[in-house]
Amino acid sequence: MALSLTRSAIALGVFAGGSLLVLAGCEMAGRTASTGPATVPAKSAVAAKGGAELWADTCSHCHNLRSPSTYGPAQWEVAVYDMRVRANLTGEEQRKILEFLKAASQ
């Protein structure tokens, strides 16, 4: 039982450390933003974002961004469908990202 508690403590420690790093990152990011030339309201809702922004946000969360020229429009249709399923994208995210990639691939 004591060993199990130790393991749990290690796991919680890892997550606590990670959370602190994230908070520190957010803090640093906030400072960086405050020194920028203009204050732009944060656009966080999916509906307010364009395809390029959603593509950068969602895809780079797990892997490097592939160039839009990697595939043609028809191939992107298949690839983005796959990422809709695998990365739990919403239908709106799928459509916007696909629209961007199809336009940028040509």
């Binding site: 509906a47 892997h63 191939q75 298949v78 469908y81 796959d82 695998r86 239908g91």
Partner: protein, 475 residues
């Protein structure tokens, strides 16, 4: 002027001349003229003068504008006819253009329908990944390795897609240095987009349990050459499972949730090999106990760069059919996992950082192993607390915004991972933990050359540090 006018003029002229000559001859006895006759004659003269004047004017007008009077009507008529013809031609052209546009649209529609229903390359995408590597580990023979995992994605229509993937590799057994080529069907599933927030699917699919197998496993995504212990072949987390699932994502204000729930055939319980007794295996393709395992994962993204997830799986674990000669009882398996993924690109850091961490807990119900006491050197019957856990924490940094161009393609990685087994298990249990330091060089966004040094610490066995290299590519 017509001929009758000329004749009238000539008659009048002769009459006048004759009148004049007669007036010059000696006059006979003058005949009496009445007042009425005189007035009538004067009127006739006035009329004749007027007619002569009109004829002169008409002749003069004819001399100055001969065309206007002779061909003007014809030209106007011709012009009108030309205008009419032009109008008809324009109408015909517009009609032809309209018909041509309709024909082109019809051809496009037919081609689009034909393309949509075809099995051609436009709807079939061949993708996947591959890797080659080399490992040199203390107390083991150094070896090369290679593997390829092609994937076929077939989009049947806008809502339906089939996904097939296989894992072709070279397995090596370190204990006797034997090897074999392996061919595993890792994915064979069909998915249907129910609505904007829900997908359903069935077949063999990557288990939505934790995040590694689903998100980070391919060698062009994984930043180190090997898997964390808990997600390796002898780890705790399931890879691919056979069943059905529902999943999706739901935005909530500025945040986003995602979810997945599934039912599957469930795990197999290892009971015959003392080295693995009590562990769960996920590569069975049949339901061993007619009790489906259920599970799910829920993820939360307060910001796009951060995801925190919790996974659970519950099911009954039974030995395989031929491995259960003694009627080994079915036991319950309960697994949980938490996962954490944070990525950020910052000018302040002159690059991008990534922090990933996952931990898995596994608890299998009590059972009595080796009831007949056949194992050596420690024969059963044996019962132990079958609880295991393991996970990893990984940090990486790539100076993508560095002023030195040569540095932008390098990435430094550090990972700590650990796997704890039950100390009373016949395998001896204990723990294994590793510290891995790596440097990656990205040739492009999907091709990476990895170098890593791994310190291994196994309880009761000491460490076996390893040097690893791997080239990973996604295609």
């Amino acid at each position: 002027m017509n001929g009758r006018n000329y004749a009238t003029i000539a008659v009048l002229a002769i009459c006048l001349a004759a009148g004049a000559r007669g007036y010059a001859q000696p006059a006979p006895a003058p005949a009496p003229v009445t007042r009425e006759e005189f007035d009538r004659a004067m009127k006739e003269i006035a009329d004749l003068r007027k007619e002569v004047a009109d004829l002169k004017a008409e002749r003069a007008a004819a001399a100055t504008q001969p065309a206007a009077t002779a061909g003007g009507a014809d030209v106007a008529q011709l012009r009108q006819e030309v205008a009419t013809l032009k109008k008809q031609q324009a109408e015909n052209q517009a009609d032809a253009d309209e018909r041509m546009a309709e024909t082109e649209k019809l051809v496009k529609d037919v081609m689009a329908k034909a393309q949509a229903s075809s099995l051609g390359e436009t709807k079939l995408l061949i993708t996947g990944d591959a890797s080659v590597g080399f490992t040199s580990q203390k107390n083991n023979t150094s070896t090369f390795s290679a593997g390829v995992s092609p994937r076929l994605l077939w989009k049947i229509n806008d809502r339906l897609q089939f996904d097939a993937a296989m894992d072709i590799g070279l397995d090596r057994n370190p204990s006797d240095n034997s090897s074999e080529t392996t061919f595993d069907l890792t994915i064979a599933s069909v998915t249907y987009l129910l609505n904007d927030y829900m997908v359903i699917g069935a077949g063999k699919f990557v288990a939505p349990f934790a995040a590694y197998h689903r998100d980070f496993d391919p060698p062009w995504i994984d930043k180190l050459p090997d898997d964390p212990l808990v997600f390796s072949d002898n780890g705790l987390a399931p890879g691919s499972i056979l069943g059905a699932f529902v999943s999706g994502g739901v935005p909530v204000g500025s945040a986003k949730f995602n979810y997945a729930a599934y039912v599957s055939n469930g795990p197999e319980l290892s009971i015959t090999d003392p080295a693995t007794a009590g562990s769960l295996m996920w590569d069975n393709n049949v339901d061993l106990n007619n009790n489906k395992a259920v599970g799910g994962r829920i993820g939360f993204l307060p910001i796009p760069q951060l995801e925190i997830g919790y996974s659970v799986l519950y099911g009954q674990a039974s030995p395989g059919g031929n491995n259960n000669p003694t009627g080994f009882p079915t036991t319950k398996a309960f697994l949980q996992a938490v996962d954490f993924n944070y990525t950020r690109s910052s000018e302040l850091l002159a690059g991008a950082i990534s922090l990933r961490s996952e931990w898995v807990w596994s608890k299998v119900g009590d059972a009595t192993y080796d009831p007949n006491g056949t194992w050596t050197p420690n024969p059963g019957p044996l019962t132990f607390n079958n609880a295991r856990n393991g996970g990893y924490a990984q940090f990486s940094y790539r100076p993508t915004l560095s002023g030195y161009k040569v540095l932008r393609n390098f990435e430094g990685v550090f990972r700590y991972d650990r796997l704890d087994g039950p100390s009373a298990a016949p395998s001896g249990g204990g723990h294994e933990q590793r510290y891995t330091f790596g440097v990656d060089y990205w040739l492009d966004s999907r091709s990476v050359l990895k170098f890593a040094y791994e310190c291994d610490d196994v309880s009761n066995a000491g460490g076996s540090p390893a040097y690893m290299m791997q080239f990973g590519v996604g295609f």
